[in-house]
């Protein structure tokens, strides 16, 4: 028993150590964002702030300059939401349907096609930048939010398909068979049988896609026009100053603000993670 308790303490020790490791950068960012510029310039970067100041946060949110607009991150936030939400939704739905087909409705060549989709996950985005720009121009959605949504959906499908397919292959074959005999068709089986089982994997897919899309900079900077720039581009504009003075506290505050939605998604979705997990995976 005692060796068991020891083991458990060891377990907790390891877990906590890792937690500290994971928290380190966030700690640095938070403390820095709460210091005055003066303190940053003179003090140690890793120490706790001597005097708390929330001014950098206010500035980052509503008055920091990104170009000639000095409205902070606020206006760009909305752009990101308009872009990320539909893109995440569409790519998750498409991925779920694709994964469902690959896992349960195999046909000749399906595996090859699946491999082709997977390989598509690896295409470096820098490669697609220029031809994509041309395509978007042809399609007339260059520099718009729909254009960005389109791009993110295209390059998100690979991952969402992968996630769903790998999840769905673990669902017993008999279940689909029973539903087929019950008279349910392709979509019926999907919505009535698979979707209710999918909560955990939807969570994974949404987390992944939302993170990728919200955090994306390359597509955002290349395919947005004035007025459709996502928050990452704005953040970059605030933080990056080639020859200007750097306000690290504002930079850090802005960074945390820009990352807040993804952090929030992780915290909230993490909760559904457990719920989904405990509800699902019962064998019938």
């Amino acid at each position: 028993m005692t060796s068991n308790t020891m083991l458990r303490w060891g377990l907790y020790a390891v877990l906590v150590l890792f937690a500290l490791f994971y928290l380190m950068p966030l700690f640095v960012m938070l403390t820095t964002s709460l210091k005055s510029l003066e303190e940053i310039r003179t003090g140690s970067l890793l120490s706790l702030p001597r005097e708390l100041t929330f001014a950098p946060w206010a500035e980052a949110w509503s008055s920091a300059c990104a170009g000639t607009q000095c409205q902070g991150l606020r206006p760009f936030f909305w752009n990101s939401v308009l872009m990320a939400v539909p893109a995440v939704a569409i790519s998750t739905v498409v991925g779920a349907l694709n994964g469902y087909v690959f896992a349960q409705w195999r046909f000749r060549g399906a595996n090859l096609f699946f491999a082709a989709i997977l390989f598509g996950c690896f295409i470096p985005f820098q490669v697609v930048l220029l031809p994509m720009a041309q395509m978007l121009g042809l399609m007339g959605i260059a520099g718009t939010i729909p254009g960005l949504i389109f791009v993110h959906v295209i390059y998100g499908i690979g991952f969402t398909t992968l996630f769903f397919r790998n999840y769905y292959v673990t669902i017993p074959l008999e279940l689909v068979r029973a539903a087929k005999v019950d008279g349910a068709g392709f979509f019926r089986i999907f919505f009535a049988i698979f979707l209710p089982l999918s909560l955990p994997i939807i969570t994974v897919s949404v987390i992944w896609q939302f993170t990728q899309i919200w955090n994306d900079f390359l597509f955002g900077v290349s395919f947005s026009g004035p007025g459709s720039q996502p928050v990452t581009v704005a953040l970059n504009n605030i933080v990056n100053s080639t020859t200007g003075v750097k306000a690290y506290n504002v930079d850090m505050a802005a960074a945390i603000i820009a990352a807040a939605p993804t952090l929030l998604v992780y915290v909230i979705a993490g909760k559904y993670f457990i719920r989904g997990l405990t509800a699902g995976s019962v064998k019938g």
Binding site: L11, L15, F18, A19, M24, P25, L26, V28, M29, T32, L45, L46, V94, V101, F107, N111, F113, F114, A115, A116, G120, F122, I123, P124, Q126, V127, V128, L130, P131, I154, Y155, I157, F159, L162, F163, N166, Y167, V169, T170, G185, F186, P200, V204, I207, T211, N215, F217, L218, T232, D251, M252, A255, A258, T262, V265, Y266, V267, K271, F273, L277
Partner: protein
Amino acid sequence: MEWLERNVPKLVLAPSFVAILVFVYGFIAWTAWISLTRSRLMPRYEFEGIGQYERLFAAPRWDVAMHNLFVFGGLFIVISMVIGLMLAIFLDQRIRAEGVLRTVYLYPMALSLIVTGTAWKWILNPGLGIQATVRGWGFENFTFDWLIRPEMAIYTIVLAAVWQASGFVMALFLAGLRSVDTEIIRAAQVDGIPTHRIYSAIIIPTMAPIFLSAFIVLAHLAIKAFDLVIALTNGGPGYATDLPATYMYAMAFSRGDLGQAAASAMVMMMVIFAIVVPYLYSELRPRRDQ
């Protein structure tokens, strides 16, 4: 009608099929063509030959980038998998604060390295970060200066990348662990199998598809590691931490040397192909058997 119904699955896949065909393979073909031209600032389509590839293989910086890709990719994937799996298994032991810990492990994936890059730079900088802090505690000989040593700097990239991705891998594995049929675990317990063997011999093998997901996610991150390098070292010291992705970006967008960038992209993709395809083949070939 009959036909329509029989082909619903294929019809569902059709849009994705077209999209992948055009926007992945079409673009790869485009890149292949560009790599055979003398495109500089903007694409040009006159055929030139394989000169770009000759230049590429002559460039010492490209050698470094490829070498780094293997070092970085290998270490990153292996370490992230190991840590992710370990944390998942540990968290699976009915841990009290599981919810909190899981969120803590997971959150780095939420943050782009554009966001955390500066913090990392400070932490890893010997004069500002860990080394300075630990020395400040009185351990004068403590050294942690990988960031500034050209031969070690690539490992700091590994460190930050592991920091970012291992939590997500943990989540994938945790989901996998929890979806294994409890009856089977019970059977193993009754069989008197010790816990570690239950994991190693029964649960983990049933999670093969999860490993596929994790591998793909990690390999994707490794190959595309771009933000990471830009934020942390910007390829430095010198170009010691250059990766093919940063090389390509530099060529395409800072140097105005599109042809060269395309050639490097093609080589990169061939390397990916060589690594990923056998893996995919072995994973996808066996028919489902549960």
